[in-house]
């Protein structure tokens, strides 16, 4: 059916042109749409193929594998839900990893949001040198991976590191940071704030998008700085804050490199991130089925948190389109 219509394209277009756009007959419009329909699928096919091969297929496979025992050497054996019950009942490291990862997210996400947003508010006061500040603050955010991890190991070095040198300037004897069971996780949280520039840039753009007429109106109504912030700034940028919150949670729950390179999950599993535990089960112990079940547990956890955040959003996120309904 599509074939025939495609062949009539040229004649159809000519007639459509003569009759001026919307006055065209149904067949001709369908012809145009048919070629668009075909090319639309064609042009989108790289992503669709990638989705089937690298996302949808592996998701199904991952679920099925989660129900099996498989060490890559002997053939896989069906095991029902035993991987899941084992993960939740017999592997204390799963709960440890969940606790650690949650604590990391609870620490780093709000800290990054507050510091990023505060910086953006300061930069949005019409202060001179905006571009300089933005460049400096954003710079660490473009770096990443192992280099940054190595740098921060050196910063946190207990005797000769930068962190304890700075603390010694104000007379504090610093903790052994990464080597300490108490301080290892907070060290990684503090380090994550170093990359705050990325969200700062986003908040800044959000703040600059707030129409000044709203501030003028609020001032005319006698609102002071706090009133303008509370009733104009916050509602207007709440969608940006919300989006950053969701992406922040999803990102924080998947932290890996810092835990692997800087602490190897230690000391005493104090920085055992969930993905690190998963990685070890898959690629060091070759428990492929078990690792898949862990991946699904992580997925469920991320989804649940995301859903909760979305649920909460109606209470505090303001969308302009709501005005119309």
């Amino acid at each position: 059916m599509a074939e025939r219509e495609v062949r009539t394209d040229e004649a159809a277009i000519a007639r459509w042109f003569q009759k001026h756009g919307l006055a065209a007959g149904r067949r001709t419009r369908r012809g145009l749409l048919a070629s668009e329909n075909r090319d639309g699928w064609l042009f989108a096919s790289p992503w669709i193929a990638g989705f089937v091969l690298f996302t949808a297929g592996p998701m199904v496979a991952s679920f099925v594998m989660g129900l099996m025992q498989w060490d890559l050497l002997s053939p896989p054996q069906f095991a029902g839900w035993s991987n899941y019950t084992r993960a939740l009942r017999q592997d204390p490291l799963v709960w440890q990893a969940l606790r650690i990862t949650t604590a990391y997210a609870l620490g780093s996400v709000p800290l990054q949001m507050v510091s990023g947003f505060s910086l953006a508010l300061l930069l949005n006061t019409g202060v001179s040198g905006l571009r300089w500040y933005r460049t400096v603050y954003y710079m660490p955010a473009v770096l990443g991976g192992v280099e940054v991890s190595l740098l921060w190991i050196w910063v946190y070095q207990p005797q000769f590191g930068l962190a304890n040198w700075m603390l010694s300037l104000v007379g504090i004897a610093g903790p052994p940071w990464l080597a300490s069971q108490t301080w290892a996780l907070p060290s990684l949280v503090i380090m994550s704030v170093w990359g705050v520039g990325q969200s700062m840039v986003i908040y800044l753009a959000g703040l600059q998008g707030v129409p000044t007429t709203l501030y003028e109106a609020a001032s005319a109504d006698g609102a002071n700085w706090w009133g303008r912030f509370r009733h104009v700034t916050l509602p207007m940028v709440s969608p940006v804050l919300f989006f950053q919150l969701v992406m922040g949670i999803i990102g924080a729950l998947q932290v890996f490199t810092a835990g692997y390179v800087m602490t190897a999950g230690g000391p005493n599993n104090a920085t055992l991130f969930f993905v690190l535990h998963l990685y070890r089960n898959a690629f060091q112990y070759f428990k492929m089925g078990y690792a898949c079940s862990l991946a699904w547990l992580l997925f469920l956890y991320v989804s649940a948190l995301t859903l909760l955040t979305f649920r909460s959003s109606s209470a505090w996120v303001y969308y302009e389109t709501e005005l119309r309904t």
């Binding site: 064609l42 496979a61 991952s62 040198g129 710079m139 190595l150 303008r228 991946a295």
Partner: protein, 288 residues
């Protein structure tokens, strides 16, 4: 901490000046805290091992030991690591530019049945933790015999391209008026020509943004190479640095020198193309 519109209230001049000064003070302090680790790294990279363990630290090494860099980079085959990383990053960027622009064009400017549903699926995949598909993907590439090649890292860029980047492209492409496409179509222009000759020349900025993000992502990637690359001749810079850490764990001056060099390409790119970095970040961070 007044907002730009605090002007209406017209505070006394000295108060406004004091506020400005306070803001600058906070921002400069913050900037120092942000830059200090980088300065620390560069400083350490130019010391000799004795000066590394001085407390309180000596910030400016005299004389600076430039030979640290030579020593760090020749102790392991970093030349190979850089070449590998450049090759695979380049191949990924090329793939992503092609895929992402085509798919983005399709979502933004062509009408096809099921488009909106497919787009919703694409958005949903952005929320999916990569770990869920990681192991089956590994097994697929293993059964193809692609382990310890760059193919598992490159092919997904050509097939798939990354939902995040497609989303970014689509958002940009939607801002260009559709009338141009319609006119061209009426003149008998094929959809591919519309894509290639009419639309693509107008979206250089987002394409550059995608290329930059892709560069940044792949250059910094650790987990992908860790899973797929197993012999030293295939190592990327991040795997090389990790290996360096294992072998020269206490030679901080050399480790910092190697880290500085590993950061250089991205820092240079950042200073050359800052505008595009910021545009891209803003665009993807605002439009949910």
């Amino acid at each position: 901490m007044t907002s730009a519109v605090g002007r209406h209230v017209a505070p006394p001049k000295f108060r406004r000046r004091a506020q400005r000064a306070a803001i600058h003070f906070v921002l400069v302090c913050g900037a120092c805290v942000v830059l200090l680790p980088l300065a620390w790294m560069v400083s350490t990279s130019l010391k000799d091992l004795g000066d590394v363990f001085l407390f309180p630290p000596k910030w400016i090494p005299t004389p600076p030991r430039w030979s640290n860099y030579h020593e760090a980079l020749t102790s392991l085959p970093f030349g190979v690591f850089f070449r590998n990383t450049a090759f695979y990053t380049g191949a990924c960027i090329a793939g992503q530019l092609v895929t992402v622009s085509l798919v983005g064009f399709s979502f933004a400017r062509l009408r096809w049945r099921g488009r909106d549903i497919v787009f919703m699926v694409l958005l949903a995949t952005m929320m999916l933790p990569g770990q869920v598909t990681m192991i089956p993907r590994f097994l697929i590439f293993r059964s193809l015999g692609w382990i310890n090649t760059f193919l598992p890292l490159i092919v997904p860029s050509w097939i798939g391209g990354g939902a995040f980047y497609i989303f970014l492209m689509r958002q940009f492409l939607r801002t260009i008026p559709l009338e141009m496409d319609e006119a061209a179509r009426i003149d008998g222009c094929s959809n591919f020509r519309i894509y290639w000759q009419i639309v693509m020349p107008q979206v250089k900025a987002p394409l550059i943004a995608v290329a930059i993000f892709s560069f940044q992502g792949h250059w910094n990637d650790f987990m992908g190479p860790l899973i797929y690359l197993h012999t030293t001749d295939r190592y990327t810079v991040s795997l090389g640095l990790r290996m360096f850490q294992g072998e020269f764990g206490t030679e901080w001056h050399l480790m910092m020198a190697a880290s500085v060099v590993a950061m250089l390409p991205i820092l240079m790119l950042f200073f050359l193309a800052q505008r595009y970095f910021i545009q891209g970040v803003v665009f993807t961070g605002l439009k949910a």
